[in-house]
Amino acid sequence: MRFILAFVLLVLPVLSSAQSEEIVLGLSRDEVAITATFDGTDVLIFGAIKRDAPAPDTGPLQVIITLAGPSAPITVRRKERILGIWANTDAVEVDQAPSFYAVATSAPLAESLSATEDLRRAISIPQVIRSVDAPASIENAESFTDALIRIRAGSGLYQVLDGGVDIEEETLFRGQITLPAALTEGDYKARIFITRDGIVVDEYETTIAVFKAGLERFLFELSRNQPLLYGLMSLAIAIAAGWLASAAFRLFLR
């Protein structure tokens, strides 16, 4: 996997004086183009902590990096055995679930973040998935969100990377997040938090644009904007291929 080091050093606005530590960030790339041969890519997120005064000695500095894909409502269905056959029965609609979510931390998440801060800033995966609007008839609605997380984690779409961020001298940090091949397009929001004693000291946010490019873009747009033309084009290709095959057959038989 290759890095396109489009180094983007972002100039930070002057923050309030109450903050003694600030994040200065770099990204290995600020856009990901899904082309025909796309099979996943790495995003390197790195930066430094800027201080006006010596580092406070309250607790060790921890860094948390999250990367979230576009959110969409999703239906989670549960199978049950009906007349000996496994069929979908109950369904729960999850209001918002990101198509991709990764949390990389310098120490296990529970150690670097307090529960209150997690609740307020929605950092861990269960907090990111927004409220479930389950029908009253369904018991145990949490099992549906658990299943959502389990299935997406299984296909590499939800990642928890404990120890995925390296910190040097409490100043420099770097983390790497691997985007899988099956990616949906949209703006991916990257958030970086620095914490001490589980309390967020500074927060930084940036976006990585993920989009289909080239032929993929053209075909996708065509199928949505000109579905009839797209369908006719598919048929034309099929007919042409069928004719070519028949012609080749005749050449072979001769």
Partner: protein, 305 residues
Amino acid sequence: MQIYLPIAEVSVNAFLLLGLGGIVGILSGMFGVGGGFLMTPLLFFIGIPPAVAVATEANQIVASSFSGVLAHLRRKTVDLKMGTVLLIGGLVGAALGVVLFNYLKSLGQVDLLVKLCYVIFLGVVGGLMFIESLRALRRSKTPGAVPQRRKHGLVHSLPFKMKFRVSGLYISVIPPLLVGLCVGILAAIMGVGGGFIMVPAMIYLLGMPTKVVIGTSLFQIIFVTAFTTLLHATTNYTVDIVLAVLLLVGGVIGAQIGTRIGVKMKAEQLRILLAAMVLLVCGKLALDLLLTPSELYSLGAAGGH
């Protein structure tokens, strides 16, 4: 080499798809079936969403049946009149099938229905073909036996009679319309051309001569699957052209190899092999429905779209 499919939104190995297309192409060349009923479950296995697999497969069948019909037209073994009647039924059936498909999709039952259809039809067709070819093998060992011809009084007693010169038939148009309708519905739901149902139906229900059946079946399948492709493309946006092209290329090459192998084999041996293969796919799908799945939950787009 990984290829990202723009509509299916999954990344798949291009050589795997070319290979799959090639293998199914070989089989379809050997056995004279469209191969859709094998390809669609194979696409499920490699992770293509069922809705995309079904719609794209319809597009691929257009190519293979068009190629086949060209060969049959040269041999004058296509009953265009009968084909047109079957087609009218087929188009109505395909439209009904897509409506049914979308309704079931909104209920979240589309996977189940497609799988059930497969299990039932693969089981029935595979089983019948297996028994029939076993009998044929036995018969070939006892020379002199003549296959019996059945008579169907019902077909001849219905109104709206019509002459089908190429088939040498004078029958009511109602049975061919109904056969077309049923196959059209199945084609839309299962993403198959329906050849493996259409061919026995034309021989046993309509009493058409076997040599005309395959070409005529292919002729109407082109239009039914083309119509299905267009409906899926405009209502569900689920035709993946990149996937279709990859399957086509493999299928076309495979079919050439398959035809050459097929010529060297005995018809009964071929049919037994095909029946065994059909039953194998059927068994695998049936086990999936009957055994406790490892993951009870599944994800789908919200709002039933």
